[in-house]
Symmetry: C2
Subunit: 403 residues, 2 copies
Amino acid sequence: MEKRISQKMEGLGTRRSVIREIFEYGNRRKAEIGAERVFDFSLGNPSVPAPPVVNETLAALLAEREPAALHGYTTAAGDMGVRRAIAAYLEKTHGAAADPALIYLTVGAAAALTITLSAVLPDGGEGEVLLLAPFFPEYRVFAEQAGGRVRVLPLREPDFSIDPAALRAALNEHTAAVIVNSPNNPVGSVLTEGNLREAADVLREAEAAYGHPIYLVADEPYRELVYGDAVVPFIPNLYQDTIVCYSFSKSLSLPGERIGYIFVSPEAAFAREVYAAVMGAGRALGFVCAPALFQYMIPACLGQTADLTVYRENRDLLYSSLTEMGYTCVKPDGAFYLFVKAPGGDAGAFCKLAQRHELLLVPSDDFGYPGYLRISYCVATDMIRRALPAFRAAMNDYEKEER
Amino acid sequence: MEKRISQKMEGLGTRRSVIREIFEYGNRRKAEIGAERVFDFSLGNPSVPAPPVVNETLAALLAEREPAALHGYTTAAGDMGVRRAIAAYLEKTHGAAADPALIYLTVGAAAALTITLSAVLPDGGEGEVLLLAPFFPEYRVFAEQAGGRVRVLPLREPDFSIDPAALRAALNEHTAAVIVNSPNNPVGSVLTEGNLREAADVLREAEAAYGHPIYLVADEPYRELVYGDAVVPFIPNLYQDTIVCYSFSKSLSLPGERIGYIFVSPEAAFAREVYAAVMGAGRALGFVCAPALFQYMIPACLGQTADLTVYRENRDLLYSSLTEMGYTCVKPDGAFYLFVKAPGGDAGAFCKLAQRHELLLVPSDDFGYPGYLRISYCVATDMIRRALPAFRAAMNDYEKEER
């Protein structure tokens, strides 16, 4: 018999992401030589436990609520009380107009993105999604699955900001959405208010020129993960046609539980229609409702975070040590990634060289921006300390082989 | 500015399902005249609480496991220990070959279906999904979203079995999948082993004739909800090319938590490739992994159910009372639905008439099978008792207006 299934899906399931490949190589390697001898910086899996309020709230819900009500269906968009709490929090924290009737709870940010892109991309496959490189590689998968074509605009070095002129040139009559991710994975950079205002002006010009909205999709799982003085502007306050895709995965350290939300700005063009399309996409993709127990957890946990001091300590240790060794790094203001120039410029080659020293780094090629290494520092600080000789040895190897 | 979003998704979000419409009408009506005066039989939301083992297991996990591990990402397919437990359970209970490497945990049966259909439908939009009517209306949405065309085959009255000759005639070279739902929503009927064997023979013939596999997608959220002597055969034992989509929503009374799995039969043609496509579809649709806490709950709860005696009592009370009043009903062997012939044959008209007596029933038209009323009896037995005069009054009205 002939095989007759989706080749596209089989391909997506067979060709694992590079990040996953390295992570699984690491797991095999740990089994071979011992976990403490492998320095795995591949995955963005929070190492800091959830703040106590999470488990306390979950335990109280289990103990106090009537089980049939607690575990029953909520409405498709999520429990109205929870959505009201989120809207009130956004109003209080960001001074933003927020309407619970325009908030839709999701199983994490990935679902928020697939639903939002399926909602705003016009039918027929002509719509474009603009990605700002470097970008989380799954954006490409999500945009194409939603029927969009992908266009890539590199961010501007050295601060990885948006170049307004380049943005103007990248927009066209087919642009339906621009995905913005700040704090950024993989760079750790944060877009400033000034830069976002410049970008918003360009987007508004393009909307006027092409006669239809261009939605800014703000993917914000790292919103609360910022260090020092960095401020993460609330984009709906700067650009009206914004849809925020938020996740509690990183801020509350519960990435496996899959809970987040879509926030359609009440000021967005056709906000009600966009929200209806979000409802339709959630339905068609099979989401039904976000996990009920984790919905009810949200009100008690809004604005709370896991203990972020470890990440700050890790950032400072890694940044200063690597810089001292001769690596060139972007100093991250947020998230938990360090973006390091690959010595010699070939990220894949340098990652292989680093593997000799049991050092697992991710080459940036799949992020649409070659020549860099992504280092996830959501790991134990002690592992970073133990890994420093390996970073030094990799650099030495590189220098030796260069000569 | 011109609106330029997905019309298809906006339509799906705006035109709510008939079931949801009636349910929300019921909520408004309850607010107006008091909840105890409205007899809402519209929604399949389990009324019986989850068995104690559910909350006990969840509480123990919260108390005992290290939070960063408990709430962290699992592999995309789900925790391997959990998948091993499911495979062992399926082997023990059904004597089926089961491979944890072919089990994929999902956020409920809806996700299992959208992922499975996206996996097995060939790219290009030529693939067909055969639905056996009456069927859960969202099947049509899921199949079309996955890029399939829908063909409908009515089941054979009076027992709502599969007519082998009609099945043969409905299959063609484009058929990629047949969805089977037993115990059935909305009928409550259970397909017998004999009938499934007849259907399997026809499917195998068609596979040989057309030269490619035809996957039977068994949607089994009601597997454990059977009454009396009814036996639900395990379809992979009867037909090799079976993919089971299972949910714990109904058996454990936790539909809001969204936890289920896909089981690809190890004997299915191209089982590994189908599973890879399942992985790819889960990735592309944005599922990442099923909620971790509810994954870890599964091993302790396999084979457990909520207390089903209430449903059995409800079935018996409703079936005998309605039959006595002159309604014609299919006696259900499973699930928690009663499928009643609409007096006069126009289900929509009779539902309107019933609403005069605050009786909320769902017309069967959207199930691809007009002329019936679906009554969800996962409600308090007391409400059924109080609703009986309304059923009688509706029948009286109908008879009066007929004359």
